[in-house]
Symmetry: C2
Subunit: 341 residues, 2 copies
DNA sequence: AGTTACTACGAAAATGTTTTCGTAATTTTG
DNA sequence: CAAAATTACGAAAACATTTTCGTAGTAACT
């Protein structure tokens, strides 16, 4: 790589001091108009660019935000990342991504790496494994050090820090109630294990809606899909008794499950939405392009990314005032398509 | 944020010089065993972590790779990014992402930003707009400066630098030939505009296969979908004459187009794959979860990310030997599903 | 005993900036 | 005309580290 020209080079060449050059390029009033012009012209001609590393060391500020997410090949997370990138950029920050790939260990490693001074703050969505093992020491440590951090989507309550979540309970409630109001009486839930916080919240919302409408919950209608399960087989249990099929399904664990359920139902000869209504939590291309297209709870990933950055930059730039941590909640929309009556 | 302990702090406290501390912590033979132990114990107790910024300034190395991609909410690109992240990490690099969002301007901005010393090298896939306007000055400038850069997927031939691409022509050829061998005689192509390099290459492969099997290309069977077109309407032109429907479709522009075509065909009463076979270029969830699941040319995104990083790190770390630039090509696989006979 | 070699450390330079402070020269003010 | 203020710049510190070189003291060799 071609080596770059530095302040010192310019100073030597123009026979002034480096401080003069620095001030001139920063338009300081201390420098005479003529000298400024001379220096600026020279700098421009030789395409001088200040060394970012030196600036960062000097200012003790990296202008980089670290993002730790479980996956990237994932519609929701990539949408959030898009929001993060766009908003961070507009505020003069760059984005560094670390993927934990669902492993607590990699999550910890990434945090270590990032907080070794490479970033000014961290945005993280913790993995399921972290929630399962309840090991938050790596996060707690950051908070204790007053290192700026914002958790989003998959958050942990036990750590006192800024968080930003989807209204999971409200969304599940809304979806369930919608199906009930459309006449469904046997609404099934494809559930995420309870140890995952969003899983238990969605289940809570589902049960609340049943309760409000005086429908007795039926354990057979709640199918918890664990990480290593055979999805098809597990969901098929809902369709074992042909006299007792569900007439509605909330796929709290996403489109793949919704899509699989739809396929199974079709194979059983059911029509959608006439015999069975399906709502999926999370809305991406599958739900839009399946046949019929699926009614979905849309989570505003872009907005979530944007607001997460907003919270974080606030933390980073207002270190003086000890603001109490915030817990923001984003609402979801029910996007009606053709998989519901 | 809690301020960190530095070498100088340790030195002062233990009444030695900073150089001694530095050497001790780096296990230099110059320091006596006792002194080393004293210093290490102190450093460990106070959780000393070297300041990354200082290290970077000193070594003139950021250990960061910049990635510029047009989109992130995109199965292929996010898969590539995943490969990049994983492999870069294993080599001690972090990844900074910049999204050009399809805009040449943002692409240029990102490059400026990154090359101002924030990263050791750049991995980029140029936007369609860049290809359309044929404005490669920002890339050429990097190459002229011998700044390490590798282009992948959407590359430009006019710039002499390392590139990594999918075998677009070969893939399209393979897909087209497969349909022909299965008995299709009117194979349509949903095409990307020619100014996009991968678009013209795929078309070339398509035509080559027709030619090999002595089938006269039919302009009516080639539908070029431009950025602002109504996709549904455009694809429908293939089904205007019921006596002359296509019996095969290659969706060179991806699954959304393939899926739309499939929907239109079904609406016209065609059965898939009996009346019409469809192959999509790019394989993600839509093709897997559509009904029927689609036969697809799978592009090995993860592998592409990995190899791109490999090329780049090679450039970064072997600055001495002036290696001629490399052009690598990755092959594609035809994943047979149910949308082809 | 005199030279050489080795041990264990410190001073200082170097990475490239910005910023504080000092000051000579000039200009303004009373 | 003396005092005060302003202008225009330079020296040096600071950010946190590594590394080169110098050296005092001791040990080893001839």
């Amino acid at each position: 790589m071609k080596s770059k020209i530095t302040l010192k080079d310019i100073a030597k060449e123009l026979d002034v001091s480096t401080s003069t050059v620095s001030k001139a390029l920063n338009d300081s009033h201390e420098i005479s108009k003529e000298t400024k012009e001379r220096i600026k012209a020279y700098a421009k001609y030789y395409n001088y660019k200040p060394n970012t590393l030196a600036l960062k060391l000097r200012s003790q500020k990296t202008s980089v935000i670290g993002v730790i997410i479980p996956e990237i090949v994932h519609h929701f997370f990539s949408t959030v990342l898009r929001g993060i990138e766009e908003f961070a950029n507009s505020k003069g920050y760059n984005v560094m991504v670390c993927l934990s790939n669902g492993s607590l260990e990699k999550e910890q490693l990434s945090m270590d790496l990032l907080l070794e001074g490479s970033v000014d703050g961290i945005l993280a969505s913790v993995t399921h494994q972290t929630q399962q093992k309840k090991d938050y020491s790596h996060i707690q440590q950051l908070v204790d050090d007053k290192f700026p951090i914002v958790l989003f989507d998959n958050v942990v309550d036990d750590v006192r820090c800024d968080t930003l979540t989807i209204n999971d309970e409200g969304g599940a409630f809304k979806a369930t109630e919608y199906l009930i109001e459309k006449g469904c009486r046997r609404v099934a839930l494809l559930a995420i294990p309870d140890f995952v916080k969003i899983g238990s919240l969605r289940k809570k919302g589902y049960l609340k809606a049943l309760n409000k409408h005086a429908i007795e919950p039926d354990d057979d209608l709640i199918v918890v899909v664990e990480p290593n399960d055979n999805i098809h087989q597990k969901i098929s249990t809902l369709f074992e008794d042909s006299n007792n099929y569900p007439d509605g399904i909330i796929a709290s664990n996403g489109e793949i499950y919704a899509s699989t359920a739809m396929q199974i139902a079709k194979d059983k000869g059911l029509s959608i939405p006439e015999d069975l209504s399906i709502i999926t939590f999370t809305d991406s291309l599958i739900s839009q392009y399946s046949s019929p297209p699926m009614t979905a709870l849309v989570q505003h990933g872009f907005e979530m990314g944007k607001q997460a950055v907003e919270l974080l930059i606030n933390r980073i730039e207002n270190t003086t005032s000890e603001v109490e941590y915030q817990r923001k909640v984003l609402s979801t929309n029910l996007k009606i398509r053709k998989s519901t009556r």
